[in-house]
Symmetry: D2
Subunit: 339 residues, 4 copies
């Protein structure tokens, strides 16, 4: 159960509401975000909803049957959209492509990609500066210094940036330079990291765990929301199965299921979801057709020279073609929505 | 290695070719299909290809690095298309929707669906008369008698039919009534059934096993082809994974991967692949967008009364909408191909 | 619900029972096996059990909450044991090792293994004559002729034999030569084959499907039992997962779970479950420790020369050591049971 | 390639070795642990091993074909054993049971379990104070304060303790109170945490990821070792598969595979691996039989009242029986080893 409080509620009235909740046998948790003031109530006793709904300072009260609450579409009318400023909005009818290399490697590399994105009307660049790697001996990214350069070049050209954060201690130093924090698949259930990201006033995109369920992804988002940050994006990036003909199995079913279960925007990452360069295009378009609000694609001026993930990275020509086709597919979706 | 023989080859020359193959250390298997006369050669010794290519009666010789041979795209230029007659062609640029109930239940039911399909320009009806069921106590279908009625009504209206065959003994009695034999997911590696279907001159659609690999599906097709029947369709219908939010996990990656590995048409079955009625449309369209040559959808006049699979079955209104949208998506694909 | 009928029941009384069942809204299915006369009733209405229990000719009536019925441990007191004759009993406290090659290859091969088994007190030999193979070009077994030779040599030395049956048409010709029919993993849901095996009066061992659930395995057994054959064994042989360090993932959890859910004996097949020769011993012993009633091991005089599955096949020395250790483990289990 | 340096090596000679490594085209990484001074060299060029082996200060040089190096059994003769002091040793022939509740709940609870463990000769207690939970609203453990109490009671009675660490910032405050840091399944690839644990001089047990591969587990251990900490334990705790009859699928194959691939001790956690109280015993014993060096079991005086994981937790009577049986199984293993 979610209780939305009026912004004008007094401390005394809040206290009364909390007491009333405890009185009916529920456990209250106060959540204050950028946009609202909530009490999430855990329990499942029957009671007369008016005993709480009529209290001073209570704006709305929602019964949510899912165990995750704040991210559930059962209480929030309408879809959440994330506004990154300068007209870059994701969700709620706004589609965004995000593209860039697996790893940020050099100023020249970033400049080239920024130019390419601008030329094709793409507004968000992805790129890793802290890289989670299975082996301790692999390249682990340019770090904070790389991020500063990356951020500088993006801002110069009006491009927003998304990059991965790997631990709580990185959140603060990264703050001035990122537009969206990304939580990677391996950190999808790093609950301490999620808790800390709840305290930040910047959007967070959470990738589904390597073998995470759709429900676990929603719970991970609930962590950040319950921590105080409503500006969340969810990302389907393929799951681990027995099939080894592709890097992962793109769970395209997750797109409509997530769109129905939550009000948050849903992003697809076809590059990781199939992991084979020549097949990124068809599954990317399939993901958009299935209803995604955004897409994340790995591109590089020379994929064969990329520091990581070259095998799934598109070159400029390939990505230009995909950007154009995505536009045709989203136009078709729009046309159906208007019909 | 595949050796294509000229249709005019004499017995004596065939004998010479077989001897030459054995001589270079390969094991030959003769394959005669509706369309050709092949020798599949198993082995991997190095040799001078001209020693065989120059023999009398040899038309072409193809080195295929995959372990499956005849279904591989490495030897056959161009895509295979399956012509069911009356202008109904699948593959090679021709897209076909196939729709119908999980189980054939009554004459009235079939009549209603045939009418609906005709009205919307769909040329192939699916419907089960032999039903594989986990429990021995569940409804197992109307059997041969149901098939006769089903076939009669379809032919009356120029509709082709596809239905599942479950064992070798059913092949002959079904022959006069089916246009396409379907091999179900549970029989995907029923090798005796596949062997026998190789001897029939009617198209066969093989569904991927419940946790079958893409490679196993190709091998299953190789069985039928090597048995003598080239008219094959492959069907992605979702795989079994840990995720239980949907009935199966639609492995959409399989569509472009299969399209690249084989010359056979690739069909998608979104009804089984997600198993939830309200989400069939988005994943169906995604499957078409990813490059499928055809689609299989479960529909019923009253899904809530269906003898089986009601939870994933669309009603007439829903399916009409999907047929129209599929047309828009295939039109977009055509437009890109021409560009 | 299962109704056990007295063997002396008259046709008229049977008719009354069937009417009574239909009257309370259940669907009856009559099952006659080697050992009993049952009516399985499908439905879940509440009713006074005495209305049926008091009818003439009814011996016992059991309410079974599982959807599978006859194989459930909820109605049958005590474990089923399968008596192959000559003192070879599996289940109900009797443990049996079964060992032999993947494929029967020659008379000499069979003779050698029979001698080895006799020497080590193993009473059942396994060996395939019909081999399910992914590729149509692989060795498919010696067939019926091989089976005759195999059977002749086993009987000469008092060894029982188990071998795979692949299709209904093989059942009759194999009948005189087998002691246990094996249904392979790929045929675990070949329902027509299961139906036909219900009509035979020889034991049947069903392997779990490649990605079959425990429940599906029980349903497959229910097919054979409901077809009329109670003499059933279930076999855990590893399942398909994302982990590729072993051929399959040995689901050892299945052993205690099956032992609790069904009265049928449970066999483990460590050779397929791990697929790596040097590790067969530890997981074989683990399977026995977990409570298996029998074990199936692939052995060969010269594993490196085996026609199939050599990589997971033990030689005579290795298998002798394993037979001895199994004895120590089963002795420990017996000791605990007596305590 | 791993180069072991003599402890007496001078700075100058170390410099020479590093130069020589770079000279032959390898990338050196210096690793200093509690026990040794290594250079791990990444690359795969052919070279004359004597050019390095003959350098001053080089003790040994090992070529390791695996991509993980320091944890590989290919360079280290003999198994690693972890000595926790007071005669409590794990690995290298020493078996240890570790038991305790999922969550530390109260002083009384800890006292009761400590007494129970002492009575049955168990030397290590497990218990969580920081609990990773899918839902942000679930109980998250008693925290540091709980750990202090837990540690105090254990030390009073000579019991060692193992507990989970969830983020780098917890390592230092926990240091004085733990004997073994546990990395949970969800943090198995939290590389920043692994890096930091490399800097600590206390043993670390890493659980396999929820769908982690055996190889990924070894890489995670490589992180800690390469960070400077050799005292490592690996834990198989079940993996996520399609089978839902148990909480996880106990990958018992992993036990012999890990024992062969690494010199580190291998622990099994049957409580999580099956997740059903009544079946913990058979799979626990199976795990020991398969070769585990230790076992982790969830126990509670009153499992039905446990704050978490009650469904898989054993009571004192059940755990006493299991401790006794484990002793019989390890005795049998010892007897075979001596033979």
């Amino acid at each position: 159960m979610i209780i939305q409080l009026r912004s004008s509620i007094t401390e005394q009235h809040q206290h009364q509401v909390l007491q009333a909740i405890t009185g009916i046998g529920y456990k209250p948790k106060r959540v204050t975000t950028q946009f609202g003031n909530y009490i999430v109530c855990i329990g499942n006793k029957a009671f007369d909803i008016r005993t709480i709904g009529s209290l001073e300072g209570v704006q709305d009260i929602h019964y949510v049957s899912d165990e995750y609450q704040l991210v559930s579409s059962k209480w929030k009318v309408g879809k959440t959209s994330i506004d990154l400023g300068d007209g870059v909005v994701i969700g709620g009818g706004h589609f965004q492509a995000m593209a860039g290399p697996c790893s940020i490697e050099s100023e020249e590399q970033v400049r080239g990609i920024v130019r390419h994105l601008k030329h094709h009307g793409v507004r968000i660049m992805r790129g890793g500066v802290f890289k989670p790697r299975s082996s301790p001996y692999a390249f682990r990214g340019m770090g904070l210094e790389g991020l500063r350069m990356f951020s500088h070049l993006c801002r110069e050209h009006g491009i927003k940036l998304i990059t991965e954060v790997m631990e709580p201690a990185q959140i603060a130093p990264m703050y001035d330079y990122v537009d969206v924090y990304q939580v990677g698949a391996r950190n999808s259930q790093n609950f301490n990291l999620l808790d800390e990201l709840g305290k930040v006033d910047k959007p967070v995109m959470i990738k589904r765990g390597i073998s995470g369920t759709i429900e676990e992804l929603l719970y991970s988002a609930e962590y950040v929301f319950a921590g105080g940050n409503e500006r969340l994006l969810l990302c389907e990036r393929g799951i681990r199965t027995y099939e080894k003909a592709s890097r992962n199995t793109f769970d395209i079913n997750a797109v409509p299921i997530l769109k129905e279960k939550t009000h948050l925007p849903v992003i697809v990452d076809p590059s990781h979801a199939i992991g084979i360069r020549e097949f990124v295009e068809p599954v990317a378009l399939a993901g958009v057709m299935a209803g995604a609000d955004g897409i994340l694609i790995e591109i590089h001026e020379k994929p064969e020279e990329a520091a990581s993930d070259g095998a799934q990275t598109l070159n400029f020509e390939e990505s230009a073609r995909i950007f154009a086709k995505i536009r045709a597919v989203t136009a078709l979706r729009k046309q159906w929505e208007r019909a």
